[in-house]
């Protein structure tokens, strides 16, 4: 417990330093407005993909419905901030969006997470599609036209803060007794059950946390782009998030960060290539997957704990 506090405080310090450094770079002009936009989009993608990585990489359940939960967060937060256009409204919107999304995930997760592999992928895709169709037909969501004039509340500091918060929560979850239970289910469901693990419960829990995270990402998306429509949350969006997870390495949060950043920068650079952009983007993906099929980082994880251990070890050697 005490040790975890030490690691978390270290992470917190790294995050604060990161924030100061980025702001300094903006101040001296290394990062311009365009750069900041890219960072916001990367940040939102990190949040979306970290949640999906928890589901796919750590609990071992395949989901193609992440965009559905993202949509729930986007719409709930957009509606709330449209009437309360303050940072407080944004906070309420994100919490409410995450809560609704978690509830929906709980309801659909209990029956669908009994399915395996391909069936689960199809079922989650269906869930996302149902969510999209509901949004398309409700009055409050303004049907196919969607919502616009959503206040710009997902500023760079807010997005940065939420990246830190969601990552800290998910990483701490993974390293807890609960996270171990989730991973044991991924490794071997029968063995896990024979250790007394209620496998359905832990699969559903990981799914619910992942869905809540997706909703936070969706909320930030809505309040940054300022217009949303049901078509934004189709299967292609789920696949875009999946690509980040796979590219970074399934089961590596560090990989998710790197992949989101690489893809974000790639996208920024390719902006000037017009229609060729999608071709080059796809080509880059194919090449990466051919030469690094386990993703950029495999399951490697940057860990302050290992850093500490290495440091104390070399110190002991130095003493001796």
């Amino acid at each position: 417990m005490k040790k975890n506090l030490k690691y978390n405080l270290t992470w917190l310090a790294i995050m604060v330093v990161g924030y100061v450094v980025i702001n300094l770079l903006e101040f001296v002009g290394v990062i311009d407005q365009f750069g900041e936009n890219t960072m916001v989009l990367i940040g939102i993608n990190i949040i979306l993909a970290t949640g999906l990585n928890l589901i796919i990489g750590f609990s071992g359940q395949f989901s193609l419905g992440h965009a559905g939960f993202m949509a729930i967060g986007a719409y709930v937060c957009a509606l709330i901030t449209s009437s309360i256009s303050t940072p407080m409204g944004m906070a309420i919107g994100m919490i409410a969006g995450a809560a609704v999304s978690a509830l929906v995930a709980l309801i659909v997760g209990i029956p669908t997470l009994r399915l395996d592999g391909d069936y689960l992928a199809i079922a989650t895709m269906g869930v996302a599609e149902i969510i999209r169709i509901i949004l398309n037909n409700l009055k409050i969501t303004n049907g196919p036209a969607g919502l616009y004039n959503i206040p710009l509340l997902a500023t760079w500091p807010v997005v940065y803060l939420m990246v830190c918060v969601t990552t800290l929560i998910i990483v701490n979850f993974i390293h807890s007794r609960d996270g171990r239970a989730v991973m044991s289910v991924r490794e071997n469901e029968i063995a896990s059950e024979s250790m007394g693990v209620n496998t359905t419960k832990w699969k559903v829990l990981a799914f619910v946390i992942g869905a809540a995270t997706a909703a936070i990402g969706g909320a930030l998306h809505a309040n940054y782009i300022q217009t949303i429509a049901p078509t934004d949350f189709g299967i292609m969006e789920s696949i875009n998030i999946l690509i980040i997870v796979v590219l970074g390495g399934i089961g590596s949060i560090t990989g998710t960060f790197v992949a989101a950043a690489v893809l974000g920068l790639l996208d920024m650079i390719l902006q000037n290539f017009g229609t060729l952009r999608m071709v080059l983007y796809s080509l880059a993906l194919i090449l990466l997957m051919v030469f690094k099929p386990s993703g950029l980082l495999g399951t490697w994880e940057f860990s302050v704990r290992n850093l500490f251990n290495r440091f104390t070890k070399s110190k002991q050697k130095g003493d001796a």
Binding site: R180, M183, A191, M195, G196
Partner: protein, 235 residues
């Protein structure tokens, strides 16, 4: 009596794998259940641990019927198992595997000491503590599976062919360890195809064939029995 199985029947769809089996395990014993491939040994063990539900009969543990209970409750009651084929958590570290063994334990204080005990019994696990379990050799994985079951502090330990696929020197070590586990007061129900070794360390044994108990006796009696020798000891 710690465990009593009465007239147990278990089906896979229309296939009846266990056909009215009865046996018992007293506290402090090693009881060996031997039988050829497909006799129903694994099925019996899975049913005791709650992973399968019987179609008939009773399983009485510490005076309570448990055949309808969920596996979580059965594990919490003190029955843990070393499953067939080890089934370690390959992507978790050795230590995390042991921690999973203790998943349901309420007395978190004693845990550190118990991990130490497991490490003393299986020193190779200590050396590999922070490695992925997938990197262990087959014999080491078997030790991990046993260590993992022991960190649950079971009253009754179920073992399904712990010697499977191991070199003779490892097999001897495994059987020594099973005896040591008994010395410490844990009751063992051992399932084995290696009948000579399993009967040699057993207080009592049962011979199972196609879902029925054929014979029972002390370990030594069964070892000396001609039919058993012919069928299972290559004699």
């Amino acid at each position: 009596m710690l465990l009593e199985v009465e007239d147990l029947s278990v089906n896979y769809g229309v296939i009846q794998a266990v056909k009215g089996v009865s046996f018992k395990v007293n506290e402090g014993e090693i009881v060996s259940l031997i039988g050829a491939n497909g006799a129903g040994k694994t099925t019996i063990l899975k049913t005791i641990s709650g992973l399968m539900k019987p179609s008939g009969g009773k399983i009485v543990y510490e005076g309570h019927e448990i055949q309808k209970q969920k596996s979580q409750k059965i594990v919490a009651g003190g029955i843990s198992q070393v499953p067939e084929g080890r089934r370690i958590f390959a992507g978790l570290t050795v230590l995390e595997n042991l921690q999973m063994g203790a998943f349901l334990r309420k007395d978190r204080d004693g845990l550190k000491k118990d991990y130490q005990e497991v490490f003393e019994r299986f020193p190779v696990l200590r050396e590999r503590k922070n490695q992925d379990a997938a990197t262990l050799s087959g014999g080491e994985q078997q030790m991990l599976a046993m260590g993992r079951a022991l960190t649950a502090k079971p009253k009754l330990l179920l073992m399904d062919e712990p010697s499977m696929g191991l070199a003779p020197i490892f097999i001897n070590e495994i059987f020594d360890i099973i005896q040591a586990i008994k010395q410490q007061g844990t009751t063992v129900l051992l399932i084995e195809q290696n009948a000579s070794k399993a009967l040699a360390i057993a207080d009592r044994g049962y011979v199972l064939a196609t879902g029925n108990i054929l014979m029972t006796g002390t370990g030594q009696e069964l070892l000396a029995n001609e039919d058993v020798q012919k069928a299972y000891l290559g004699g």
